[in-house]
């Protein structure tokens, strides 16, 4: 039962992450699925669904087509739709059934590309990873394919890892951009909200890539490998801008760690804490950036608990990686002198009752339930 979830939900799955990442880029994204659980993409995960068009499809895989390996139907349906809609690219995302069947999406993408002359690729999802993996892999596929040149525009950045799942509506993303631009750095492209595929192709011109959430890390690594662009990890939250700018200027890879963000504790020494502390639960880059501001501005210890899988190299000393609800509850119970917990409201039932709870809605966790309460992260502190 260690990894089961009895009370809290799980994070948005990888397939929704792919759709969210590619939503605004003019491509066609096809989830190969019977349209069961993946319909939660438009009902729960995608806040742009009713206001902004996109070519997101579910294949409607049937039992007999799955059993018989009828890939031809998928190919034919996509080709009919693509000939009419002329997408800029076609992205295929798998779900549990084709995963179990071993559907060869790479081969299907190759056939589509040959038949249609439209770039096609697959993102190896199976519905069993979280959104960080899905968004990350989708943006990485774009990073592999852009054909820009490394002619650097000084003092320019790309923001990598931007979806509503982490940052909410476009106005909130505009605030992130504004923080960066007010500091004298031009934002060339934002991966991938409020921007076009053509503009993303300008990414190699940036002096630095700014990984604003863990979902942008894979793309940053590919852009570094392909074009030599260094990257810095940290979220442009107003109070964090000074630290972030220093890291950008000095090309230090993880801005909040360079700042020396730690709480003086490591590993199993939790009980030694005598200071009051605040707990932040959520996505590692945003939470660590917030933690750095809180520690600097308010002189209070902060500990981040990260329930997401991809956090290697992204957590500060003493922060806690958990897997599953039980581990999270144990981690929360084991911490002493906790003054408050900051997390998505749906975490409240598993948090200690005698500790103040501060709501910080996160679409990737609670969907659109708290959309109206979403804070502008860039202006939070």
């Amino acid at each position: 039962m260690k990894r089961s979830y009895k009370i809290i939900p799980i994070y948005t799955a990888d397939v929704s992450g792919v759709c969210s990442a590619l939503y605004e880029l003019g491509g066609m994204t096809v989830m190969h699925d019977p349209s069961g659980c993946n319909s939660t993409y438009n009902t729960h995960d995608e806040i742009r669904w009713y206001d902004q068009d996109s070519m997101i499809y579910i294949s409607g895989l049937t039992e007999i087509d799955a059993v018989m390996g009828n890939d031809e139907k998928l190919i034919r349906d996509i080709e009919i739709a693509a000939e009419e809609l002329k997408p800029k690219f076609i992205a295929l995302a798998g779900s549990p059934i084709p995963y179990m069947n071993g559907t060869d999406f790479e081969a299907i993408a190759k056939i589509l590309e040959q038949d249609l002359g439209i770039p096609a690729f697959s993102v190896p999802t199976n519905g069993m990873h979280d959104y960080v993996y899905g968004v990350g892999r989708a943006l990485a596929e774009i990073a592999k394919r852009i054909e820009g040149k490394r002619e650097v525009t000084p003092k320019s950045v790309n923001l990598l890892g931007v979806t509503p799942l982490d940052f909410g509506p476009q106005e909130h993303v505009d605030a992130l951009i504004q923080n960066v631009e007010q500091a004298g750095w031009k934002v060339l492209s934002t991966w991938a909200m409020g921007d076009t595929l053509e503009n993303l192709a300008r990414a190699p011109e940036a002096e630095v890539n700014l990984v604003v959430s863990s979902t942008g890390l894979r793309a940053a690594e590919i852009l570094q490998e392909r074009f030599g662009t260094p990257y810095v990890t940290g979220t442009p939250i107003r109070g964090f801008m000074k630290t972030l700018l220093n890291a950008i200027e000095e090309k230090k890879q993880v801005a909040y760690l360079e700042k020396g963000r730690h709480i003086g504790l490591t590993g199993n020494e939790l009980e030694k804490s005598s200071e009051n502390q605040i707990i932040l639960i959520g996505e590692p880059v945003i939470m660590e950036s917030l933690a750095a501001v809180i520690e600097t501005e308010y002189q209070i210890s902060v500990r981040v608990i990260c329930p997401l899988r991809e956090k290697k190299g992204l957590l500060a000393d003493g922060d806690i990686a958990v897997c599953g609800e039980e581990e999270l509850e144990q981690a929360l119970q084991s911490l002493k002198n906790v003054k408050g917990v900051v997390a998505d409201p749906l975490y409240r039932p598993v948090c200690p009752e005698n500790v103040a709870f501060y709501e910080l809605p996160h679409i990737a966790f609670s969907g659109r339930i708290y959309k109206k309460k979403l804070p502008v992260l860039a202006e939070l502190i």
């Binding site: 390996g69 179990m100 069947n101 071993g102 559907t103 060869d104 790479e106 081969a107 299907i108 190759k110 056939i111 040959q114």
Partner: protein, 258 residues
């Protein structure tokens, strides 16, 4: 690196042939990796003198994310690197999905980069019955497929099914058909029927193996013919076959060193 997949009807002598070809290639100072893609997990048994190789799937079930490459690999006769994909409990689970998982785990743990074999031989269970069994011929795995058959009708029928699958997968960038290997059972019109199969799929019978008692004798010893009877005519036949397979495959490989 040359990557070859060998298919054919169950019991036709795939593992015996592949193991002997592996030794013949290793004798030429090539680093050979043989990957058994069969739930029975006995492809490399003659290279290991009857000692079983722990299967990738059993190890994955036991160790989960802590699975390490060195756990999955054993060294056999003439330094052949032996791997067995393994499979589910008979009658349960999904053997095809098992092959996919096993080959993915090998790739994820860097098997090809770490061992840098000159030749990889995928010894695949019987027919291409589902998506999982086409995995060894997918892009990134084998470049050439060889089909082993005798002149028996059922073996030829299975061979035709496999050749048909390879043909159907052409647009997907999968492996191409390297040819047919005749493993004689001394049935009537044997050569004629197998040549007919090759003609139907516009390919060649690239090698013929005699029906020799030495094969059974070596098996009884838990060894390959190449080890047991290295000076025999049968061993020579395997050497000749290995040479032909190598020559036909090296054009599609990514490079060659000897």
């Amino acid at each position: 690196m040359i990557k070859i997949a060998v298919y054919g009807k169950g019991g036709i002598g795939k593992s015996t042939t592949v193991s002997n070809v592996a030794v013949a290639l290793a004798e030429k100072r090539l680093k050979v990796m043989q990957i058994g893609c069969d739930p029975k997990a006995d492809s490399t048994i003659a290279l290991r003198h009857g000692e079983a190789v722990p299967t990738v799937l059993d190890l994955f079930r036991e160790k989960k994310q802590d699975l390490r490459l060195e756990d999955m690999v054993r060294t056999g006769y003439q330094g052949v690197i032996c791997v067995e994909a393994g499979g589910p409990t008979p009658g349960l689970g999904c053997a095809g999905r098992g092959i996919i998982t096993a080959l993915e785990k090998l790739k994820e743990t860097g098997a090809y980069e770490v061992y840098q074999p000159d030749v990889v031989l995928y010894d695949v269970l019987g027919d291409v019955v589902c998506g999982g069994f086409s995995m060894p011929m997918r892009k990134g795995y084998a470049d050439k497929v060889f089909i082993i058959t005798s002149g028996e009708n059922m073996a030829i029928h299975a061979g035709a099914n496999i050749a048909m699958a390879v043909e159907n997968f052409k647009t997907r960038g999968y492996a191409s058909l390297g040819g047919i290997i005749l493993n004689r059972r001394n049935v009537a019109r044997e050569e004629e029927k197998v040549k007919e199969l090759a003609d139907d799929f516009k390919t060649q019978v690239i090698g013929t193996l005699s029906h020799s008692e030495l094969v059974a004798e070596a098996e009884e010893e838990g060894k390959t013919v190449m080890e047991c009877f290295p000076g025999s005519e049968m061993a020579e036949e395997y050497r000749k076959l290995a040479e032909v397979i190598y020559e036909l495959s090296k054009e599609s490989g990514e490079g060659w060193k000897c």
